[in-house]
Amino acid sequence: MSSVAVIAQYALREAIRRRVFTVVLLLTAVFLAFFWLATHFVHNQLGEITPPADVHVDARTFAGAFLLGLAMFAALFLGVVLAVFLTLGVVSGDAERGLLQPLIVRPIGRSTLLLSRFLGAAVVCTAYVLIVYFAALAIVGVTLHWWPARVLTPGLELAAGVVIVIALSLLGSVALSSTANGIAVFMLFGAGLVAGLLGTIGQALNSGHIRHASTIVSWALPFEALYQDGLHLITESSSWLTGFLLRLGPFGGGYVHGWEIRVWALAYLLAVGAVALTGFARRDL
């Protein structure tokens, strides 16, 4: 256990020292500042939105859920950027640079090393995603005076999605060079997002084929399904027309959701971890 703590500390220190961490923090600060500004302007114009009398749309709920959905996407995206840059070279990259060999010959074991690197990255990225999510939630809540029905679970699902990306990136680092791994993980992430948007469109158009294709991708890449579930949770209490209009947009969420996908995401994480550990144990360095 002490070896896990030593390597996790090493990974944490590496995360803090890397310039990418500083860049991500700066970008996050810029994003949150613009997000606050946008929310502020939306709030100022909220009173001017006058839907037809027979259309029962709650403009405040619509604006709040839409903006928070946008912030959740940003938190997921920036969290994934951080996760990938912290883990893309943990095995192949560090071995090529000669950083891994002095550590791996110590009596800690390869599985301990990989697990510790996973924990280190997971702690940093989870903290980051939760901070961005709750900062955005606070901006929307305080400025627009709107709070989603479910506050904690969407944030946890976002963080869990990023943790799955960390596991995929570590698995990739066992077999691929840093650059190839970074490209592969970002392409997977992009594929997940596109599938998510397709699923939303499929749901709005009531297209069974599109929904079916998107559902398959969501189960194959459950980080996307967790994000969709998080979006679903912030809009689930919206009245039917407001909810319907929200689900027409990119931040509606919810064509794959519920406990099944959460349990599957956990099983998926364990399976990816097991494959990564097996691959690392058999890898020549």
Binding site: S2, S3, V6, I7, Y10, R13, E14, R17, R97, G98, L99, Q101, P102, L103, I104, V105, R106, P107, I108, G109, R282, D284, L285
Partner: protein
């Protein structure tokens, strides 16, 4: 002699390339063994198998009786890779502390101070690694390998970036370690260094040990050199035992003898003979 490292029938293939072919090698306790060979001969592969970085295709390697790569084996050895790097933002003190924690060494600050003194990095102990020269980093690598007082050291080109003073320091360190019973497998291109410090030498070529023995066994007599008033004369093929007779003959012939020297081939000659002049 108890065995610190035993390699039997070791083989390893990288695709079409046979890096090691049925290699046998032993390093006894307190023995300093040098591994020589051109680039690509399989030296680093052998060392990497011994420390558990690479899995052999056949044969076995044991460290202090434990299978190479096992936790027990790794706990008994110190390793300096040919290409290594420490995180640039660490100081030498922090690098050693990290490795103490990973190796389970209870040496604490006293061990770190002793190791830094040993490799002459006391003045640089608070400097960041990325601000250190290549030679300083290599000396830090040697210190790192010594963390936890391992019984077997595997050093892959430990002096490639060192200046002559640094090389002499490492050489003395190796002699001191041998005197304390530490076993060393030294992989180096510097033949003179191997010749000076190693008890035994193994020469690898195309994954096979083509020659092995003590430096004295690997060298052979080249003749006797006589310096007389008529100049220097080499009697090729003559042995040390014939020196007295050759001097007597020269004196009888009226020569003034100023010096006599038994010549033998160097390790470099033995090496070049073994590898057939093969270079990188």
């Amino acid at each position: 002699m108890p065995v610190a490292l035993a390699v039997r029938g070791l083989s390893k293939r990288y695709g079409p390339v046979e890096a090691l072919k049925d290699v046998d090698l032993e390093v006894g306790e307190g023995e300093l063994v040098g591994l020589l060979g051109p680039n690509g001969a399989g030296k680093s592969t052998l060392v990497r198998i011994a420390v558990g970085l690479v899995r052999p295709d056949g044969g076995e390697a044991t460290v202090a009786g434990a299978p190479a790569g096992s936790r027990a084996a790794r706990a008994s050895l110190g390793y300096l890779a040919e290409l290594f790097r420490f995180p640039g933002w660490y100081t030498p003190e922090e690098v050693l502390e990290l490795h103490q924690r990973l190796a389970g060494s209870a040496g604490g600050g006293a061990e770190r101070a002793r190791l830094l003194e040993l490799v002459a990095l006391v003045d640089a102990k608070d400097r960041r690694v990325d601000g250190m020269s290549k030679g300083m980093q290599q000396r830090l690598g040697v210190a790192q390998a010594l963390v936890g007082e391992p019984r077997l050291l595997l050093l892959d080109e430990p002096t490639s970036a060192l200046d002559p003073v640094g090389r002499r320091r490492v050489r003395r360190l190796l002699e001191d370690l041998r005197a304390r019973g530490v076993s060393v497998l030294l992989n180096s291109h510097l033949l003179s260094e191997i010749e000076l410090v190693c008890d035994r030498v193994a020469i690898l070529l195309h994954g096979e040990i083509v020659k092995a023995g003590t430096p004295a066994e690997l060298s052979r007599p080249r003749g006797i050199e006589l310096e007389t008033d008529k100049g220097v004369r080499l009697v090729e093929g003559a042995t040390r035992e014939e020196a007295a007779r050759l001097v007597a003959e020269a004196v009888t012939a009226g020569r003034k003898v100023y010096g006599v020297r038994a010549l033998s081939s160097t390790l470099e000659d033995a090496y070049l003979e073994a590898v057939g002049g093969e270079t990188d």
